[in-house]
């Protein structure tokens, strides 16, 4: 991701933005965020984490209690939503039910007083863009969910905004359709060079579509990074838990060794880990290991790394992978995923094995 995020050339900035609805609790706490032009940024987080509020503040439907939001260098706090020129796609599509598809698309052009022939050309182009050219005369109720979302997308793009906001646009669709549309939306965004701020609680969606992902929790951005960094190098235990599947072991830091450290787990076993946000011996920590980085085949284990004992509790055949549940250091929920390869042995419940991982895949995070 080559985009540098400094405040000068950022397209959208949130500067120390706070939001409270009731005057007692902050829904958004001190938000600082720069979004570059042409960037696809996803706000990801559990419900109630403040991501939608941020989007609504950007769209102009909520006002920031404190702080400033700028768009292309202009502060927009006091600009009403209809003058911001931001396209928006809603979770429920929000296609006007009493208008046809063409009338829906015509609406933003009419309120901008664009001439009839111009309007028609733009509508046609926008519909073709989402492969819905032949549906202009239909009513939204005559379309399937996926088709409606395509129209909603076309409507948000038809007046050529530079910034498009999407509020969980694929949340109501089934999995297969969602994947197709994910792909289409990202392609379209890159082709048109528009800036997209995308809100979702689906982490797969966030990882596959975005240039950068802002993980929200408790009104703050917990981590803002490219998808791969986010997955591989979560900065705290919330991000580690929230993104992808994750095994967590608890213990105390017993030795710092520069780039790595040793952690004594609660049952006394010692493992190697990368200290992420622990700094001194004696601190409590949650150690996080991705299930697919766990190895039990001695040939694949790294020389010299610590191994620990595990007992197979359950072995699930899932086609492309095996999913094994283990008892490790007193935890019953430790999961190991192994690729279904010819040389891979199927484990049987009750079997005692040794497991291990590369020290850099094991991250010691906050407790």
């Amino acid at each position: 991701m080559g985009l540098t995020s400094n405040a000068q050339d950022a397209f959208v900035t949130f500067d120390r933005v706070q939001k409270s609805y009731d005057g007692e609790t902050l829904v958004v706490k001190d938000l600082n965020l720069q979004i570059g032009k042409g960037e696809f940024l996803t706000m990801l987080g559990p419900s109630g984490s403040g991501k939608t509020t941020c989007l609504m503040m950007l769209a102009g439907f909520e006002t920031a209690t404190h702080g400033e939001i700028t768009l292309d260098g202009r502060p927009i706090n006091n600009i009403p939503p209809h003058k911001r020129g931001i396209g928006m796609v809603f979770q429920n599509y929000a296609l006007f039910p009493h208008m046809t598809v063409a009338e829906n698309l015509s609406f933003p052009l009419e309120v901008r007083k664009i001439g009839k022939s111009d309007r028609e050309a733009k509508i046609k182009r926008a519909l073709d863009m989402v492969q819905m050219g032949s549906f202009a005369g239909r009513r939204p109720s005559q379309l399937s969910g996926g088709q409606q979302q395509r129209i909603a997308l076309a409507r948000a793009l038809v007046f050529e905004p530079e910034l498009v906001l999407m509020d969980e646009p694929l949340g109501a669709l089934d999995k297969q359709l969602r994947e197709t549309l994910q792909f289409e939306i990202t392609n379209l965004a890159h082709e048109l060079g528009i800036t997209v701020v995308y809100v979702t609680h689906d982490q797969t969606e966030a990882l596959t579509m975005s240039d950068r992902v802002a993980v929200f929790d408790d009104g703050r951005i917990q981590q803002l990074d490219a998808p791969d960094t986010l997955y591989e190098e979560p900065k705290n235990s919330f991000v580690a838990q929230f993104i992808g599947e994750n095994n967590t072991l608890t213990g105390v830091v017993s030795k710092m060794k520069g780039a790595t450290c040793e952690v004594r787990l609660d049952d006394g076993e010692i493992i190697d880990a990368v200290p992420v946000n622990v700094s001194q011996v004696g601190e409590r920590t949650q150690v996080s290991i991705r299930p697919e980085r766990v190895e039990y085949n001695p040939e694949r284990l790294t020389e010299g790394a610590h191994t620990i004992h595990a007992e197979v509790l359950e072995f699930i055949y899932m086609g492309d992978i095996y999913r094994t549940r283990l008892r490790v250091a007193g935890h019953d929920t430790f999961v190991m995923k192994t690729r279904n390869a010819p040389d891979q042995r199927r484990l049987t419940p009750g079997e005692k094995i040794e497991i291990g991982w590369r020290p850099q895949d094991c991250r010691a995070l906050d407790a």
């Binding site: 102009g60 209809h82 003058k83 931001i86 396209g87 429920n92 006007f96 933003p108």
Partner: protein
């Protein structure tokens, strides 16, 4: 399962699929019956259950609501009273040319009919019925009920002068009554005598002697009318009563009209007396029945009476409907009512106009309220909704009376306006007992019926439509007018239909605050139901009102679509 049997099974399934596709006839269930029939049988039980559940209400509605309404509507065209009360007259009038007063035959028929009607005390009912059409007939009929006894008296006296036997009931029964009836009647009389006062066995119904109707057709008819009437009305026996004078009239007319040979051919009882009378009638003094009736009441010798009877002699009439739209039925066809009697068209127009004004005021006042209610948090909106519903829990009469207090010239509103200085003390506004009063009070009363459907529709319009519109560049007003408002139209439609239909038939409020100019057609209907007792006209007015509502409903359906009406 072995591989072989698995293969077999899948092969079977494939064959079945092919067969299904190849068959063109109706789909069959597993037992070979048509699928539709099986489904119907399976659903019949459910349908019966559903029917049983609604049966009590259905029966209740049918008996107490639908049937009376149909009966009431039927009254708007029903007119059997004329042909039932004056059957002979109506028949006799069939070939009347309506140019001049009718012939003596018609007057004779009227005499027989009226005599029976007067004895049965039905003439005043007919009088008030015909009075709806031609004013004054009611008193004519009442007066004639007393005079009818004397019609034909001249002939009665002459017959009795000729032969005292004509005064005796026995002569008449011997001439007219069937021998079987005579013996049955005698038996009855004996039993009655033996049983004393508590005897309540009915008399055997009078029967004419065979053949007498051929010899003396009018007399036989008149006598039977007399005999049956006194049996039923007075519980007297024809064997003991001297016939009415109109029976003598009939006898005279029969004998005068018959050739002598007809009477000579009669060999039954009283043949000798009859022959003597037949010989004598040519020398009888005669009277003009037209004059006799004319002396009783001038109306009988004037055209309007006969025109009215003739126009309303059919058992069914359009007269009530014509009257309901300010027309009248005359022998020359349908004509407009005299100008000073035209009120119903005006009343219908006024009713529709005022209902429209009330409906529009309700929309204008109710829409903002409903909008506010639907956009407030649930707790606040529930509280406010209770305030909207509060009037429902207050008696209609109390609310309307409250408006009287508020709106009258010395009332609260006028007092405040004078106090503030908007109007002079001697120029207080007339806010009640006119259209203004009705419109104000009814708008207030019907407002909840507008707010509730509006609210329930607006409640279902998600806020994101307006947001979407704004994000697309629409100002607040454009977003409201082009996106929100069209989606609230079903609520407006439902509210308007409800308020309009309720107000078009409203009665109490216009009655109390409407004065002379602010009353509705329903007030007139009520007047005809309970005061003038012209139920036919009331029914016709009601039917027109019902048709009007249905037409409006149909127009609305064509314009907006009834599917678009939402009550929640």
């Amino acid at each position: 399962m072995t591989d072989a049997s698995a293969g077999n099974a899948s092969q079977n399934a494939a064959t079945a699929r092919r067969e299904d596709a190849a068959r063109t006839g109706p789909m069959l269930a597993a037992d070979g019956r048509p699928l539709k029939a099986s489904l119907n049988r399976a659903l019949r039980r459910q349908k019966m259950r559903a029917l049983l559940l609604i049966a009590p209400l259905l029966i209740f509605i049918l008996v107490t609501f639908v049937a009376p309404i149909i009966d009431m509507l039927f009254r708007s065209v029903e007119n059997q009273i004329v042909s039932e009360t004056l059957p002979r007259t109506v028949v006799a009038l069939d070939d009347w040319d309506a140019q001049d007063l009718p012939s003596e035959d018609v007057y004779a028929a009227l005499a027989y009919d009226f005599n029976e009607a007067a004895e049965r005390r039905r003439h005043t009912r007919l009088g008030s019925r015909l009075n709806y059409e031609t004013t004054g007939l009611s008193s004519t009929f009442r007066r004639s009920g007393r005079g009818i006894e004397d019609v034909g008296e001249t002939y009665a006296e002459q017959f009795i002068d000729l032969d005292e036997a004509w005064e005796e009931p026995e002569t008449w029964t011997a001439l007219m009554a069937h021998p079987d009836w005579l013996s049955a009647q005698a038996e009855w009389a004996a039993e009655a005598e033996a049983a004393g006062r508590d005897f309540d066995e009915p008399e055997p119904a009078f029967r004419l002697a065979p053949g007498i109707a051929d010899v003396l057709p009018e007399t036989a008819d008149a006598y039977r009318s007399f005999a049956r009437t006194i049996q039923q009305e007075d519980e007297d026996s024809p064997t003991e009563e001297e016939p009415w004078n109109t029976v003598y009239l009939a006898l005279y007319r029969d004998l005068a009209a018959q050739p002598a040979s007809a009477v000579a051919a009669y060999f039954g009882p009283i043949a000798a007396e009859l022959a003597a009378a037949d010989a004598a009638v040519d020398g009888f003094e005669t009277v003009s029945l037209r004059e006799v009736f004319g002396e009783m009441d001038d109306a009988w010798a004037e055209m309007p009476m006969w025109e009215t009877i003739d126009a309303f002699s059919d058992p069914y009439t359009a007269g009530y409907f014509l009257a309901a739209i300010d027309l009248q039925l005359t022998p020359d066809g349908i004509e407009a009512q005299p100008e000073d009697q035209r009120i119903y068209i005006l009343l219908f127009q006024r009713t529709i106009f005022m209902s429209l004004v009330i409906t529009i005021s309700c929309v204008l006042l109710g829409y903002p309220i409903a909008y506010l209610l639907s956009n407030l948090p649930a707790r606040t909106s529930n509280l406010l909704l209770i305030l909207v519903l509060l009037p429902f829990w207050t008696s209609l009469l109390v609310r309307t009376s409250a408006w009287k207090v508020l709106l009258q010239q010395e009332g609260v509103i006028n007092d405040i306006l004078v106090w503030v200085g908007f109007i002079a003390d001697d120029a207080r506004l007339q806010l009640i007992n006119n259209q203004t009063g009705t419109i104000i009070a009814m708008t207030h009363i019907l407002l909840p019926f507008m707010i509730l459907p509006l609210f329930s529709v607006m409640k279902t319009i998600p806020p994101y439509y307006v947001r979407a519109a704004k994000s697309l560049g629409a100002t607040n007003w454009t977003a409201f007018w082009r996106v929100y408002f069209p989606q609230s139209i079903p609520g407006i439609g439902a509210g308007c239909i409800l308020v309009f239909i309720l107000s078009i038939g409203y009665y109490i409020t216009p009655e109390l605050v409407g004065g002379r100019t602010g009353t509705f057609i329903s007030n007139r209907i009520a007047f005809h139901i309970s005061e003038s007792l012209n139920w036919g006209l009331a029914a016709a007015l009601g039917s027109i009102l019902l048709a009007l509502v249905l037409v409006l409903y149909w127009i609305y359906d064509r314009m907006v679509g009834i599917d678009n009406v939402k009550l929640g």
